[in-house]
């Protein structure tokens, strides 16, 4: 009985999408032993999106700093936003990680006026 000839094939899948500048969204949480430190992150965002991000040093077990879009901080002050970010981000972050976070803030306001 003859052996059948072997065949090798490759399937190529291509997915294109727009590259974001900078390659992050609203927040980066930088681990203490991450390959990119806060100063490198600051220089990156300053080069690609000047004056749009702020680097806040953190007093945290595994995270060293948070890089946050300034627009977010105008809507929610850092002292309100950071505890939430650290509580949730801290659950998945570790010393070597850089965690990217997308934050959506919706402000609702109602006012009663006399008719």
């Amino acid at each position: 009985m003859k052996a059948s000839a072997s065949e090798r094939r490759a399937e190529i899948t291509l997915r294109l999408s727009e590259f974001e500048f900078p390659p992050m969204q609203d927040v980066l949480l930088v681990g203490k032993r991450a390959p990119i430190g806060p100063e490198a992150a600051r220089r990156m965002v300053d080069a690609l999106s000047p004056e749009q991000y702020e680097v806040l040093p953190l007093d945290h077990a595994v995270l060293e700093a948070a890089v946050i879009r300034k627009n977010l901080l105008r809507m929610v002050p850092a002292e309100k936003l950071l505890p939430f970010l650290l509580e949730e981000g801290g659950k998945i972050a570790h010393e070597s990680a850089i965690v990217k976070a997308q934050v959506t803030v919706t402000v609702e306001a109602t006012r009663t006026v006399e008719l």
Partner: protein, 286 residues
Amino acid sequence: MSASVADIMCREVITVGPLESVARAEGLMRAHRIGGLPVLEDGRLVGIITSRDVRASHPNRLVTDAMTRNPVVVSPQLSLWEAKEVLEKNRIERLPVVEGGRLVGIVTKAALYAELGKYWDALTGLSKSEYLLERARCFLLQGREIAVLFFDLDDFGRVNKLYGHAVGDEVIRQTGGLLQALMPPEAGLCRYGGDEFAAVLGATLDQARELGLRAVARVEEAEWPLGIRISLSVGIVGGRRAAARPDGNWRFGVKELLNLASLACTRAKRQKSRIAVADTLQLVRG
């Protein structure tokens, strides 16, 4: 005699830039077998990165994200003793040396201790006379009155001849300990040589005399090897600081005080009075 940081600092300093990688810094340290690198940006010292920082950081990080910012620096004119205090107070291993805002050298703890070891007496654990001069200089720079005490064991040659040098060494070691225990924290006590000790105090003549009397009493009350009796004579000088300019003459002036205290001590021995105060004072002249 080396007495300042400039005399022992390494002048060819290997440095690294803040935007270089931690891996590059680690490579430089390994290649040159050194434990730390000053970080320079546009010629200005902005930090220091050590092997400990390297171990705690990812190799891909920028040096600026791993270094210690605002490092403790010293001037080349700082004395070795002051440099030692700076190192120990800050618990660090190396001191960048800066003059006119520029890095001119680096001093390591190992180099500093090796040099200071030359001024250290192994038998008593006390310093040698250079330390006394340094403490005197510090007091004078602070504008403080100084007094010098010169201590000499009485008839010490007899101890060595009758009981041997091992017993003699133990007497000297014990005397150093007794005197050290009496000294105020800032005092500069040294083993001057043989069975002679000297101290400088930032104190008045009366305070120095009181300390001298206590030293004499303490030595006479102490228990000595083989039950032998030991006594001490003290010469004292000071109390009329005439000038305090650190212009080079201070060293001569303090040595002159030391000499007067030594002569007073000889007089105390001759008169068997145990303690004598130098009555002719040729004090520090600016």
